[in-house]
């Protein structure tokens, strides 16, 4: 019997607000332990939560971006459990009335595009961190992260392979970064993921028993954990046993999943509406105001790059991976009107340079306007392609304008026929033996002479003009041998 995997992801997205979701304490990442705390973060007696409206703005943005319905009357609920990093003994979250429901996104994966359902998105507060000091055997609590706003984005069980799950997660991250509501940084934990997975015989509609894998903190781990879990469940099922519903942790070192707790051990969170927070009304006007500020999203921009600029889907997808990159591309295009060249320069030279330097495109030393100018210099034959790469390197190192570099370094392309003729004559003189063979009819020596002439010009000669001059020169010599 063949089985297929049914996968759903729960993504936790940390929001980039200035202050925490229910207090004025800073929501910054890092800091010295317990630097960003206040009475509310500490859960002192008598402290009350006050909702940060920006969090709602961000939740609406995400909801609209993934085609969700936005709930007009929202409630917060308390989720109870005891842990030292949870100061109040409960987390303020949303339970059966989440702010966004019933959305979907398109995920491009393996040459195809599939719609993946978004079941719900809700707002909640993050917990702090427990740090276990093995030296002193002490457990330390850092509450900087406690109360940082989160969106929990729950997909429908529409994903079928680990790679597709990873592609979905990347798309969610990409949208969040376009919206500038989150860094989506998995290393810093501003994007975290739990995966639900079950297997069922191909063709069967009913879902199998699922397991949940917690805290997958890289795209690679999402794939590896799911691959491992699929294999594990498959062997359980093939041996005629049943998969038991449990929560698992992925051990990235060993590459295996381990049981954290079974269904019987699972906590009763005793959710109930938080009486400290009155129901939150979201008027249609609020939603429309947010809608009017939404940037163009990756899907639309990719389509535009194909339809308007004539790029391939492959190129377009690369350029729109990050909003800053798509913006950069459009700015380059604006100044040179050459989409293909802009694409090539960005994806090869610029990406290479940024990669090596460890820079983000938003911190590129080469401005979009300068790159456009460089493309125009090549197009206008002021420099040739080879020189252009040298100029680019200089631009990357110094942030200077390409024209300035060309002038300063005397890299202007030599197109003057008499100058090139002089170089050709010089090359023949320098290589008398080869020249004789060439004149005798060995045309395979032509590239050699092009190289020689270019070398003499220090690369600045127009290669086409050199070719023309060579052909004419040899023709003359063949007709009238010296």
């Amino acid at each position: 019997m063949d089985f297929e995997a049914v996968i759903g992801l729960e993504v936790h997205l940390q929001l980039r607000t200035n202050s925490k979701i229910f207090s004025g304490a800073s929501a910054e990442y890092g800091g010295t332990p317990n630097e960003f705390i206040d009475t509310v973060t500490l859960g002192l007696p008598g402290c009350l939560p006050v909702l940060n409206k920006r969090v709602v703005d961000f939740a609406i943005m995400m909801g609209l971006a993934v085609n969700c319905e936005i709930r007009s009357l929202n409630r917060f609920a308390r989720k109870h459990y005891f842990y030292p990093d949870l100061p109040k003994g409960y987390q303020i979250s949303q339970f059966d009335e989440p702010i966004c429901e019933r959305g979907h996104i398109h995920v491009h994966f393996a040459e195809s595009t599939r719609a993946i359902g978004i079941k719900r998105i809700h707002m909640e507060e993050d917990a702090g961190k427990n740090i276990h000091d093995s030296r002193t055997h002490a457990s330390l609590v850092d509450l900087n992260r406690a109360g940082v706003p989160l969106l929990e984005i729950v997909s429908e069980p529409d994903l079928r392979t680990p790679a597709e799950a990873s592609a979905y997660l990347k798309t969610i991250r990409q949208i969040a970064r376009y919206l500038e509501i989150s860094d989506g940084n998995m290393e810093e934990g501003s994007l975290r993921c739990d995966a639900n997975i079950s297997l069922r015989p191909v063709g069967q509609l009913k879902f199998g028993t699922r397991t949940e894998i917690k805290n997958l903190n890289s795209f690679k781990f999402v794939e590896r954990a799911l691959e491992y879990e699929i294999a594990r469940q498959l062997s359980v099922l093939k041996s005629g046993k049943l998969v038991s519903q449990e929560t698992l942790l992925f051990d990235s070192g060993e590459g295996v999943t381990r049981s954290m707790r079974t269904k019987e051990e699972s906590a009763d969170y005793r959710y109930f509406p938080d009486p400290d927070l009155p129901p939150l009304k979201i008027e249609e006007s609020w939603i429309e105001e947010i809608r009017s500020t939404l940037p163009k999203l990756p899907e639309q921009r990719t389509k535009e790059l194909c339809d308007v600029y004539g790029l391939s889907l492959y190129d377009a997808a690369i350029l729109t991976a990050e909003r800053a990159c798509a913006d950069y591309f459009e700015a380059v295009f604006k100044s040179c009107d050459n989409a293909k060249a802009a694409c090539n320069w960005i994806t090869s030279e610029l990406f290479g340079g940024l990669n090596k330097a460890g820079l983000d495109i938003s911190a590129s030393p080469v401005s979009a306007a300068h790159l456009g100018e460089l493309i125009l210099l090549v197009e206008g034959e002021t420099i040739n392609g080879k020189i252009a790469k040298i100029v680019f390197e200089e631009m990357f190192a110094t942030s200077k304008a390409p024209k300035q570099i060309v002038e300063e370094k005397g890299l202007r392309q030599v197109t003057d026929e008499s100058a090139i003729q002089a170089l050709v004559t010089q090359a023949f003189a320098n290589n008398a033996g080869q020249a004789a063979l060439f004149v005798e009819g060995n045309d395979r020596l032509q590239p050699f002479f092009v190289g020689q002439v270019m070398k003499l010009s220090k690369g600045s000669a127009n290669p086409q003009k050199v070719n023309e001059a060579l052909v004419a020169h040899v023709a003359r010599l063949r007709k009238n041998p010296a």
Partner: protein
Amino acid sequence: MTELHSLGLQELRTGLDNREFSSSELVQALLTRAKSVSKLNCFIDILEDSAKKSASVADQTLGKDHGKPLLGIPIALKDNILSVGSRTTCASRILHNFQSPYDATVTKKLNDSGAIVFGKTNMDEFAMGSSSEASTCGPVCNPWDTSKVPGGSSGGSAAATAASIVPGALGTDTGGSVRQPASLCGIYGIKPTYGRVSRQGVVAFASSLDQVGCFARSAGDLAVLTSALCGHDPLDSTSVPRSDNSFEVPAGANIKGLRIGVPREYFIEGVEPEVESAVRKAIKSLEDQGAQVVDISLPNTHHAVNVYYVIAPAEASSNLARFDGIRYGHRASDCKDLKELYYKSRSEGFGEEVKRRILVGSFVLSTGYYDAYYLRAQKVRTLIAQDFKAAFESQCDLVACPVAPTTAFGIGEKVDDPVSMYLNDVFTIPVNLAGLPGMSVPCGLDSKNLPIGLQLIGKPWDESTLFRVAGAYEHATDWHTKRAPDSSYVDATGSAKDSRRS
């Protein structure tokens, strides 16, 4: 010669502003008074040093145009209201050493009006109780009869005001915890409309029911103190911005034509005949002044106690989860792991009644029982609120009824019978469930010389009508002048005397 401690808030205001006595003299007189009646056990901490210091600061400004209604006047705080510079224990072992780094909004407002925090009053642990017996510091005694309870949970604040240790005090009222002790101690007490007073810095018991209220020995004094507490607080999302946050008892208050609803469900079996007759007499007195008495029905009243004992414990079980021994408060020693730390700290830290409510609350919120208990209780709560709404919309302008079915009961009498204790709040609980303002007004003494209270319940935000009616009633009767006889509780060896400059 009138002794300083026996003066009411407004009399003190006049005396202080006329420089008849200083705030320092007043504080000294009240400290002396407190010592002489210490067997009432009203206080968890008396803040002698800081009160004296604040008094001498106030004395610098007194006599000038200060515009502060409570300048130089000592007020007591129930020990679940946070104030910097003192412990806030909630009469619980789990917070026995807790010092708050911030002031409650009401504490701040009191300070802003010039009041001096005199001390933190004894109470039922975490405000859970109706007798002020469930305290790590021992029971509070009723000044009218020290073998009786003062009511609760704000019993310390009520007894301290009734025994003239302070001219006024703050309490909290979740199911009657201000009105019932006010009634049992023969003084005035108010629970304002839910949302009128900030809950920020008040240790939460049941957030959707909790409201800060206060005690005083006259309606006018109560109005002054209430006005100092009210106002929108951006730090409490359930606090409501209002423009009518100042109250007074108008001289010669006119209640002609006012329709007073008398709910038949509040005169039932279990109400002591002497209580019923005193309350009916009080209502008659209002009728004599031109009010119109209307027989009304609040048919869901009998569900109120049941509903309350689902909702309040549910919220309490959640609100008290933060007392885990990790960041502050009592932490058990010698624990081998985290689980044991939680178990032991909470087992040692909480008293019996608190544990009982945490257990009930956890149960009614748990999966499989939530719908049957919590959700159902919320629905019935809505019905109880609708009863009042319907009555106010078509029949009456306010409701008058007993505060409690009985006068003060004996210390120890009900500690082993929680349900009978709960039933003492049968007439106060519906007011919290509906979020309405309620006031307790002294209206008689029973044959054992124990006070009886009349409860006035207003429309939402209509505290001013309650003050008007209380003023009219006060004008027509002299129950508000009755004080517990000093002989019943003043320590014979201690000096209850203080001096007044004349």
